[in-house]
Subunit: 521 residues, 2 copies
């Protein structure tokens, strides 16, 4: 099943529940920021397994599902649904007849879907040849050159939402861009979701830390998009992690159930540090990952047939010496590339990778690891890229400098994905004829005609002469990035938001906050 | 035409001209250093052009060769040879009948060849599914954390030869690892070639700055390998740059002629900063590159049919603002991947990429740019990778810290190229059955059995906890790399070299140095 495809960059019109005058005023007020549409990949996919290898993995996943089974904890309804569907349910362990989860998924899960943004121009297609970049997700700490490392606050959260909003190649506002630990656990989701809506107009993710917080997210989305719109459209994509190996827990399943039944999307993601949560080998990891995704994504379809669900895998390894997570190493690259192949054979969108690193600081280690994760992420045909920018220290810190460095790399991926222009202008024979042997192309008419768009222009790289770099204070990339994020936050202007919607959101947040005492559980 | 293939890792025996007792003693004395064999790629190639796109580029290259032609300057013999071969020679401009250069190459140039090292275990296969990593080439400066940036000396040169020798995934000693500017220009090649032979046992590159210096290189190789051995074997691979656009000069052609006629290999390489030396577009750059390589590699075959010749391309761009070279951007990646496709269709080995960067220091910029160059280099099916480690500042500086950082990345590429292990051990079903849902793999028998080889172990990355990293002084990757190169140089032990050969080499160097006054031309 596929959703109807939508041409890239075609703005949706007429779907807002609130009227035209507001929309026109909003358009006039819209700050002039450059935004790239989500990527539509023109370069071939990169693969690492042939048909035989893929079949081996798929058979092993089936074996795991049949013989070992998957635990579904603290979610009796899932056990009931699987019993009805024909699975072998003993206690909380479910064993699946060969091929059942796959056939359930393929019967109803969309191959791709549109996640609508409150600004229709920022809506994204998730699946197929589309790639959408979202920022880092989850860190309780932030790091920047001024403060070093410290606990994150809601102010940091807003800052990262603003930075993502202003980054041309970040297509999605993400979710927990950092954990605002200054707010009570049971209420902070309200401020997080509100911040995504208020300070950005890009699509966003919902709370998954409890089913009722997922429900709050859906309610807030209804205020923005209208209740009727949500009946047939997806405006939230949320991260549903497996408790690998082979466990789905009640919190995550409960959140997924809320979203699925509201037609909202879930990313079913085995969170893998190979060697701890999966075998130390790529093929072993892949079989387990596929088994976990099949069981999770099929459960999503049992909750609500047709709800968008993504094949996710967070692939990394541990250091065999210390047990610490490692990033940017070759083994997770192989897993990410192969899992993309498995996702396409299953026929649902794919999420992996990002700009992952173990480094504590935005140094060479951080960059090597991030680049060695990001490029394969694009090449794997990844549709939804979480952690695209800002990830530091194995996900413990959101880095301000790292964020703008990574965002620059995302811009490069955007150009790379376009492939080679073979138009007459691209072929440039006229330039070669004009210039001829022993001359140069600096001033030729072809170069002049293509001056503005010829090459990707990095915001971070210093390509100046040594002497000029010296004269400008011998700054490294992190020091330059420090200036950039400060300038961006300084120049930030909020996207227009209908004041009536804003008021309704604030009222909802206030009402929900008043309804229960603060709690850190 | 192909050379007879040699199984990876099979040591050659009995080819030395000097006797068995020395060899046996050498073997006993050999220091215990870990060395990886050259890469035999098991992962699929990455492509960016389809059949139609490749044909467009090839047709455009033919058009350039026919209509615009190529300049061959200060090398009358090349003009004569091309006249005889049927080309249209007017002054120093040669225009080529459609398909002539390609047919000349395909008639006699080897698809792959063995470059022998003086230690047979370090001999490398260049071409086909093999990838060989060599260090940085050419910088007049060095940089390290202790000295900052300064002119390179022969001491630095020796240091980089030693570091390359001790790096497990650097398979080749390279050539001008830095320019020893403390020695006279007309003699420094003698010390450079001697250093490669003396301080390493890996294969090396020859001098190309004048035909007579190429001849000196060949003479020194004869001392090491024996005159007879060179008659049918390749022991030198050298870098022959085009003077792009569309010019071959007498110095480079003269050096290539010396090497070709001694059966030694040449890398015919358009040195491209797109926007200056080629059009600003990838397709335009590719057509020009192909035309230049076709003309250069065919000239090599006219000098000596069957001499190994490599399709080289140094692909980068300039900043359209400042004209400065840029690295690690998406456009050169597309050129490198596509040129690999063109080289395979032509049927000769391929050279591109490396760990290129514009950054002055080993910071995040350097690492992003290097990683974004290196991974595509492997994926392009590159057979000979110059600048694999140590490149900084657009090739103006060889970095000590950068060298060991990059060498670590080369080790990762070595693992990545192996692809996914689909043996029973690789599939790891037993581990998944043993561990089951909700447990972990840390101590399971499969993990224990694979403990030593499970994951690539980075020498640079710090994966420790934040607290431990803090306690150890909050070092960044460059600071850790600084310790590593110093430790390596401290632990360095020279590979055994037959004293008679060493003496003969030293005598040759002394004689050649005495034969002419010092000169810096």
């Amino acid at each position: 099943m596929t959703v109807s495809d939508r041409a890239e960059g075609t703005p949706e019109t007429g779907r807002r529940t609130r009227g035209g005058a507001d929309a026109r005023r909003a358009l006039r007020q819209k700050p002039k920021i450059v935004q790239n549409p989500y990527i539509v990949r023109k370069i071939p996919l990169v693969t690492v397994l042939d048909e035989e290898g893929l079949t081996v993995i798929e058979n092993n996943a089936d074996t795991i599902l049949q013989e070992v089974g998957i635990e579904f904890r603290d979610e009796p309804e899932a056990l009931e649904l699987w019993k009805k569907a024909g699975a072998d349910v003993k206690g909380t362990r479910i064993r699946f007849p060969k091929g059942l989860p796959r056939s359930i998924i393929q019967k109803s899960a969309p191959k791709e879907y549109i996640q609508h943004a409150r600004n229709a121009e920022r809506s994204v297609r998730i699946g197929g040849d589309a790639t959408v970049f979202a920022p880092v997700y989850g860190p309780p700490f932030i790091r920047n050159l001024d403060d070093g490392r410290r606990y994150a606050t809601i102010e940091d959260f807003r800052n990262f939402v603003k930075l993502a909003y202003m980054s041309p190649s970040i297509h999605h506002s993400g979710g927990t861009v950092c954990e605002p630990v200054d707010l009570p656990v049971n209420k902070r989701h309200l401020d997080m979701v509100y911040s995504h809506i208020k300070y950005s107009d890009k699509p966003f993710m919902g709370s998954v830390t409890a089913p009722e917080r997922a429900a709050d997210t859906v309610e807030m989305a209804k205020i923005v998009f209208g209740e009727k719109f949500l009946e047939t459209n997806t405006v939230i994509t949320s991260l549903i992690n497996a408790n690998s190996p082979m466990v789905w827990d009640g919190t995550m399943l409960g959140a997924m159930k809320v979203y699925a039944r509201a037609n909202q999307a879930s990313i079913t993601t085995p969170f893998i540090l190979a060697g701890a949560m999966s075998p130390v080998t790529a093929a072993g990891t892949l079989a387990q990952v596929l088994a976990e995704v099949l069981s999770g994504a099929a459960t999503c379809q049992l909750y609500k047939a047709g709800a968008p669900v993504i094949f996710g895998v967070f692939a990394s390894s541990i250091s065999m010496q210390s047990g610490a997570p490692t990033f940017g190493t070759p083994e997770p690259t192989l897993v990410s590339l192969a899992a993309g192949q498995l996702a396409r054979r299953l026929g649902i969108p794919y999420r992996t990778g990002g700009s992952l690193c173990a480094s504590k600081v935005p140094d060479a280690q951080a960059a090597y690891e991030s680049a060695q994760t990001l490029l394969p992420t694009l090449q794997a045909g990844t549709n939804f890229v979480l952690h695209g920018a800002g990830w530091l220290e194995g996900g413990l810190a959101s880095g301000y400098e790292k964020f703008v460095m990574d965002a620059d790399q995302l811009g490069m991926m955007q150009v790379l994905a376009k492939g080679i222009d073979l138009t007459e202008n691209g072929q440039a024979l006229s330039a070669i004829r004009e210039v001829g042997p022993g001359s140069h192309y600096l001033g030729c008419s072809h170069t002049q005609a293509n001056f503005e768009t010829a090459f990707y222009r990095s915001s971070i790289a210093d390509n100046n002469s040594f002497e000029q770099w010296l004269a400008e204070g011998e700054q490294d990339a992190a020091q330059r990035a420090n200036k950039i994020w400060k300038r961006m936050l300084n120049e930030y202007e909020a996207p227009p938001l209908d004041p009536a919607i804003d008021e309704a959101l604030q009222a909802f947040v206030a009402q929900r906050k008043a309804a229960a005492p603060d709690s850190n559980v």
